[in-house]
Symmetry: D2
Subunit: 418 residues, 4 copies
Amino acid sequence: MSASTFAVGAEDRLARFVRIRRQTWALCAGLSAEDLLVQSMPDASPGKWHLAHTTWFFETFVLGHDPSYRSPNPEWHYLFNSYYESAGPIHARPRRGLLSRPTLEEICDYRARIDDAVAARIASGIDEALVARIELGLQHEQQHQELLLTDLKHAFWCHPLHPAYREALPVQVSDAPMPMRFLAGREGAQEIGHADSDGFAYDNETPRHRTWLAAHALANRPVTNGEYLAFVRDGGYREAGLWLSDGWAIVQREGWQRPLYWQEDLASEFTLAGMRDIDPHVPVCHISYFEADAFARWAGARLPTEAEWENAAASKPVAGHFQESHRFHPIAAPHHDGWLQMYGDIWEWTASPYVSYPGFKPLPGTLGEYNGKFMNGQWVLRGGSCATPHDHIRASYRNFFPPHARWQFAGIRLGQDR
Amino acid sequence: MSASTFAVGAEDRLARFVRIRRQTWALCAGLSAEDLLVQSMPDASPGKWHLAHTTWFFETFVLGHDPSYRSPNPEWHYLFNSYYESAGPIHARPRRGLLSRPTLEEICDYRARIDDAVAARIASGIDEALVARIELGLQHEQQHQELLLTDLKHAFWCHPLHPAYREALPVQVSDAPMPMRFLAGREGAQEIGHADSDGFAYDNETPRHRTWLAAHALANRPVTNGEYLAFVRDGGYREAGLWLSDGWAIVQREGWQRPLYWQEDLASEFTLAGMRDIDPHVPVCHISYFEADAFARWAGARLPTEAEWENAAASKPVAGHFQESHRFHPIAAPHHDGWLQMYGDIWEWTASPYVSYPGFKPLPGTLGEYNGKFMNGQWVLRGGSCATPHDHIRASYRNFFPPHARWQFAGIRLGQDR
Amino acid sequence: MSASTFAVGAEDRLARFVRIRRQTWALCAGLSAEDLLVQSMPDASPGKWHLAHTTWFFETFVLGHDPSYRSPNPEWHYLFNSYYESAGPIHARPRRGLLSRPTLEEICDYRARIDDAVAARIASGIDEALVARIELGLQHEQQHQELLLTDLKHAFWCHPLHPAYREALPVQVSDAPMPMRFLAGREGAQEIGHADSDGFAYDNETPRHRTWLAAHALANRPVTNGEYLAFVRDGGYREAGLWLSDGWAIVQREGWQRPLYWQEDLASEFTLAGMRDIDPHVPVCHISYFEADAFARWAGARLPTEAEWENAAASKPVAGHFQESHRFHPIAAPHHDGWLQMYGDIWEWTASPYVSYPGFKPLPGTLGEYNGKFMNGQWVLRGGSCATPHDHIRASYRNFFPPHARWQFAGIRLGQDR
Amino acid sequence: MSASTFAVGAEDRLARFVRIRRQTWALCAGLSAEDLLVQSMPDASPGKWHLAHTTWFFETFVLGHDPSYRSPNPEWHYLFNSYYESAGPIHARPRRGLLSRPTLEEICDYRARIDDAVAARIASGIDEALVARIELGLQHEQQHQELLLTDLKHAFWCHPLHPAYREALPVQVSDAPMPMRFLAGREGAQEIGHADSDGFAYDNETPRHRTWLAAHALANRPVTNGEYLAFVRDGGYREAGLWLSDGWAIVQREGWQRPLYWQEDLASEFTLAGMRDIDPHVPVCHISYFEADAFARWAGARLPTEAEWENAAASKPVAGHFQESHRFHPIAAPHHDGWLQMYGDIWEWTASPYVSYPGFKPLPGTLGEYNGKFMNGQWVLRGGSCATPHDHIRASYRNFFPPHARWQFAGIRLGQDR
């Protein structure tokens, strides 16, 4: 891990720290303590838990890096450890919704107290190791900002009255996007992965390495709601031959018939602004890997590999529609040439299982549990979404979820062999 | 159902209504909105849900008794219906903890609004049918007061930090109770059940009818913690021969080794005042039917039938240690002759499955679902507990829970054949 | 337990032993080793297991009563113990279908070897204690004969091709039975239970004791398929208000819409002779307690209590249609006055949970586990069925099953208050 | 799919068909119909089902290829279809153990009948398409031969008495193998996958394509029991940090402490010859991917990728210890240079998830379900085992199982970065 983006100077570091930490809290504005306690499924966490866990991360790995540090709330350590087995016993994930105590107010104080302490540390001058840990904490905070949004969306959707996260979110009236076209990618021995000189990256993006790309092409834009609707109407969810075996099993067991948040009428969908008409021109989202893969087969195409995706994306600036727009929903693709919406709007499922790169070395110590131990049964997603902070994403960024996960802003870009 | 206790006059009715409704709220004093949202298991409900459901009961069965009534919140009907199938679809019980909305504050307003409307109805003069429904609503409210306490106790116990419901609850230093003695009950054809002239009763307590009692005796007092500890230490939880087959299965599957809230050291237990020393002289509680039955077998005795219990209890005034003492935990038995603690302190498991009395007729319409449909797989408990309101209990009162339920204030009085 | 029916003399004892043991084997005639290995659900056992377990019972409780007895197959003890915890560890019930070894042939030899040894014991003269144990073993054998038939029926029904147990079973063309009429039973203090002087009974039928019967009447005959069909067609399975709460839950969870073995067309049903037309005049069977109870509510009646049933049945000779007819399916009621088909054809669900009689004492030692430990969560059935051996049933006989069990030959006789 | 190995001439084809089909039956010699009916877990099938399903495969895809073909047993189609959704509805996999009918004898006849018909077809001269389908059927038969052995092993192990599949299997007394050494593999752009000109291969081995190999080395031989025992004794199963997150979850949930068939004493293990001493010099087997991966981490190494493995293996003749040795258990590695035991003895887990090769095209029609739809959640294994027929394996062969699967003869070869 390198931290050069962060290490611009003591003041900038502090400003960045303060800005990102405040943004998490800002995402909770207008929500009640009750809204922030609900846990709608084992995979999702209560908002309050996100607020506390990200703070615990700074307390444990930044303040706690100093062996003389004594936590004023050592008993909270158990509550807010997510999955770091080597950091001690862990409160069971599906039971996070039971944590009425500490109250939201106490967590708010906790955040302030830890923020003050970290800020004082930054102001007093810190070595590179601590700079790196603070930056990791901020990147971690940004990941949880996105999860906070997707977990809240799921919780509100599970509520029988389907309340909106924010009533006032802007509505977009979209024009039809450009026709889908396949643009050839580079072939042969190509490098992917994060180069050490390029600023922060997670360990799972390294080392930069060579891979071999066969002849291929990627679609110029993601699949839209309108295109996905054609798949639904064509009986896509009733045709076993389109699905992976595990996918077909879940389609039948769970009765899947459409994307997670679409209503039965195929005309409206649940968004963070409540129920809205489905815009046919906007990228489809909240679909699983299984659905993305079945759609691609139906369309006579396939999903891109992560190497193909990264190779294409690396040629483009990291620009698009992110959390900062405060829309919290994808918008239609712009009209111009080349690959569109590679970054932002929706995470794009790839045909690549999440495994280590050749020569991968996890971070040393407890932080080595951050990424590496999840390299089983998950698929890589690329590019960030409308819920991702703009400065959090990069071409080499590897997100990963199990193939049945639907509650993320995940969609489809098609690929094909050439 | 008769409502003579209630029908003293318009003013007394109103005072009783206001007092009981306020008491529910008073039990929530000092708790946060978060404390009142937690659902620790499917059998338990969040405090907020209790507050809302009891209000829904008055809205539906008292205000809604007038066909011209229009609810300002018809969409809440679905949320707060507990199990009345004929009143419409029902939010699934295990998902009550997801109901962040309406907020606690909104529920508080809801209570006030419905209370005002019911009070106005009472003040304007009501017929016997409505008097009966209001009384049923108040009895129902009192049942939920007890459940509110036991559900909160379970939720706080499930919290890894074991917070106390109320820190300031009084501690009792107890003397040893009198030795256990068995006192003969009446034999032959005996009447049990509620007589119509005796004021309010649930439908399941009627009709009063004759039953035949064989020669028997009941212990003068409940089994104490100290006596139950001897059973534990004697290997009671490891001896299959002491248990019903279903009980032994759950002992092994769940790893039961002691009463629900006892700690592993057999020296302290979780109470609504937090962790406390186990008082050996106080009645054991938070045990299941299976445990009560196994203890009785170990002790060479048996549990009383509900008819034996009622026959003995009917001779005694309804006096004892109830919710009003604000201890929320049993206390030691007093020192005098005869049957002690028949009412209050702990519900007493009986050897009687919960079935209908000969000639039983459920209430007409939707309220017929109140009791009758649960007559399978449950056992009768008698006498009320330290969490029961004093004026809620009577000799003919039939409480019922499944044999594995442990989170109620339930204990043991032994019986024997003569 | 008294054994006077058995103790007629050494020869008769021996003949009875041989006859009953052979009958079990005869029920397996024409079945393959594979047919006898299938276990279609945890509640059912493979035929081979029944053959072995009943033999184990004699080996353990008759031969093993002699402390010098050494089993030639001590390792089988674990395999064929059903639920006697005090007799040692037990192979898990749902895994009985894994017991390919010992083979059917070895079990056949096992039966012969134990039979020879028991016969030799009988011939050599035995004391009353052993006589009683042999009689218990024979009664036990007869219970398993019935279970063998109902378990095989379930296994063949689970098979996609629905093979018949015996193709050649006779078909009955039935006339319409007499109209259903309710005949008053005796009221007041009445005795039920087995009197010691009356020959063999299980411990759970004792002691004979007084109970109080309110005014009531019992239907002259069981409910027929035609009558039950009217309930189905009237939407009985869709009307929550007719069902106990637990019953309604299972109706929805399992999608119950008709009796277990009825086909979707409501015209044919699976029998031990394969698929056959439903005979409208024959008693309905293979229904659960929940269905019997819901039907009774729909019919404006109720189920009889076991005391009411026994009081009525005690006045009648034990005659009817049993296993010996080799029909293995109920037939229509005869045409005459009084209560018909009290014995045989179908077990009749009663409104009585299975609990102990006042003064109940289980058999001493391991055999005390035979009945008493199951006194939770089950309901009593009375009268025997077309699969019960004639000489196995009596007025005081108490069969018991959980309320959801459907695979027994269980039906309905209605009762009512007077 | 090419079929050149098969297409040597009409006679050789016939001889090969007869030999392979007979071999399946030979593996069942000495087993009873009951042994062949047991299904010990949903992942395993009864022996009889394997016998029938492989026959169904020939009937459906070879005989049924002729549209005029009429099956004499059309109702069996449902029973013996494994997972071909487009071939019609399918009997649920976990319920295969219920299929008492058709009997083993009927299946035996079924095999003979279909074999005769296929043989007649071969003798009468067949086109390339049918040759290819027959060859696929034979390869399929060989896969099921291995599964038959591993499923029987699991079934016998689940039996409380742990019977042996074959008592008479030879015991090997092994010398210590050569020390483990890492031998460098080829780097850079390398080709893997099956070339069309090379005889039969499954679709998932194609197309042959280029991949990029980083600098690496593979161990000269598999990990032995003795080496794995050191991992166990060092607390490998208690150290979360060694495990993938999903692996650690299963270690805790299932209580894993050693390989599947090792006994608690770590001195003996269950084999197809019954319980035997663990030979420290023999490759460890019956471990999951999770265990292989954890062992590799503990050993400071990693698992090879499938490309690394294939690149190394392609340089070696397909020779080793296979099903034909009739040992059905791995033996110790021979003493010579280079990579040892690449083929046979144990399948080797690779670090490669099972996904499609670039340009992969599944077989057309129903046979396209053979491999492609399982490309989720599984890991590739290479090299064949002691239960694999010799002529079934090749360098490009890709076996795959979920990461928790332990009942195959699967072991470990270590790899490392260079």
